[in-house]
Subunit: 298 residues, 2 copies
């Protein structure tokens, strides 16, 4: 049995060592796993709890609030905390792009009060210079670290100027086969790779897989510009694929999470659960649980 | 990195090879994992989906309906299917022990109609000969394969007689430090180990851990009599431990699931999620997702 087990594990780690990305083990992984090699007490009860928690904490999981697009803000924040998550990126449903500074401050206070951290906003479409300016002003007032955006390519000069001026990241979100401008992470990467490093990607792994592209390979290949992640699962690796609970679809989630660990990813991994819009909580909970289970073991 | 990964995996498999139980790899595990060693296509998209599904299917997950003790039967069955589970064991809330044969048949038909399988009943307390007879008649009429029971030790002769007469298993459920008769799996095992093999254990891993006993070790040690499992997690390995979402507590779930695979366990692994009795679905969903995530990788 052990031989079989080891062979499988070797295969697993081989997946993740593809590509030209950094091959060193993330610091957090060493911290979490090294004690297990240093004399585990085989009979003690619960001694590995800390190591398992550390293993899960190697990635910062969060929520893209598009998940809760039919829910008001208080219920959205309550559900986020119920899942023991805190990082959240707002879709405009929960904070309108044309909000006044006072409205923004009030909402940010409510987020903090609930124990959550508003780290980003998106997806924010930027089809004009005014929309670029509005998006960055909105993000700055709200204290967001990253805008998950879809700027028209001809606006990227202005976007770069704003990124430098405000020190806020802009992560371009790929939308799959139906997206003529940014269908895949690579298509976005090609347009920003020579710009300021604070312009990068929000890899949406569902849309990536629907475009027939492996999210783990994109992660390893485009590692230097991944600023945010939308994690989800889809029923098929084609344009017809629809979103499902993470673990039930076709995306190789263990391999993808392993790729994030391998590149020492330090951004957020936010669940954008699109199914069950009237009550997304059970499906989101299953998705979060699945990823935590995988992270405990890989 | 690969060396570190392999060492960790070896440690992991070492946990599971403790004890005197069967050490051969379960057939289903070989089926699920062997293909990965036989030339995985590293670049294809979604090719491992079938293998991941097989890995998850190595254990039959189900629900102990005590989880939904505040919910009516239709909502309970709907939630079970929503989680892509089908096996269910009824607590009396969903089918009273003194139901008439007609009532039982009606309920069983509703379960089947919903796409679920009523495989067991419990926890059923048997404090008198009449309660033993009632429990077995109830289970036989409902077509249950196993009774998760707590029979008084002095009734075990009658229980054994009924097990033989009806060919229905009786799995004794351990209730932790507060239980004077069956606190741990071992305490139940000692009372039934010389009886018919259809009398065995329902290991409740929460109560086991609360009694300071490692569920994985109990599983390996008492393998020949494990007939049912209540899976859950608890906040502490003491009498004060309370139930939490699986993955958030102190139980080493990967190690426990690995132990079940190692003993070639063929019964059901039913979630008894005791927290959030008014709306257990999100926490149950997170628990199910966590175990599926672990099963995908181990």
């Amino acid at each position: 049995m052990e031989k079989q087990g080891q062979r499988s594990r070797r295969e697993f780690f081989k997946w993740a060592s593809l590509g030209a990305a950094a091959s060193a083990l993330p610091d957090r992984m060493l911290t979490a796993q090294a004690p297990s090699a240093a004399g585990r007490n085989e009979t003690a009860v619960g001694t590995d709890t800390a190591a398992r928690r550390q293993a899960m904490a190697r990635l910062d999981l969060g929520v893209a609030s598009y998940t809760f697009r039919k829910w008001k803000l208080p219920e959205t924040l309550k559900a986020t905390r119920q899942l023991d998550l805190k990082y959240i990126a707002f879709k405009s449903f929960h904070l309108a792009l044309d909000s006044s500074p006072g409205q923004i401050e009030q909402t940010v206070a409510a987020v903090k009060q609930a124990g959550c951290v508003l780290y980003g906003g998106g997806v924010i479409y930027m089809n004009s210079a005014d929309e670029v300016r509005q998006g960055f002003d909105y993000a700055r007032t709200a204290g967001m670290k990253v805008i998950i955006g879809v700027p028209k390519p001809e606006l990227l000069d202005l976007v770069e100027q704003k990124v430098k001026e405000y020190d806020i990241q802009l992560a371009i979100h790929n939308h799959g086969p139906g997206d003529k401008v940014y269908p895949t992470p690579q298509s976005a990467y090609d347009k920003i790779k020579d710009r300021d490093r604070r312009i990068g990607l929000c890899i949406d792994i569902g849309h990536t897989q629907r475009a027939g592209v492996d999210p783990a390979e994109s992660t390893l290949k485009l590692a230097d510009r991944i600023l945010d992640v939308h994690i989800k699962d889809v029923s098929a690796a084609t344009a017809e694929g629809h979103t499902v609970e993470v673990g039930r679809g076709v995306i190789d989630i263990p391999r993808f999470l392993q790729a994030l660990l391998q590149i020492r990813y330090r951004g957020k991994v936010s669940f954008e659960y699109e199914k069950d819009e009237d009550n997304p909580l059970p499906g989101l909970a299953e998705s979060v649980g699945y990823c935590r289970g995988v992270l405990t073991v890989i």
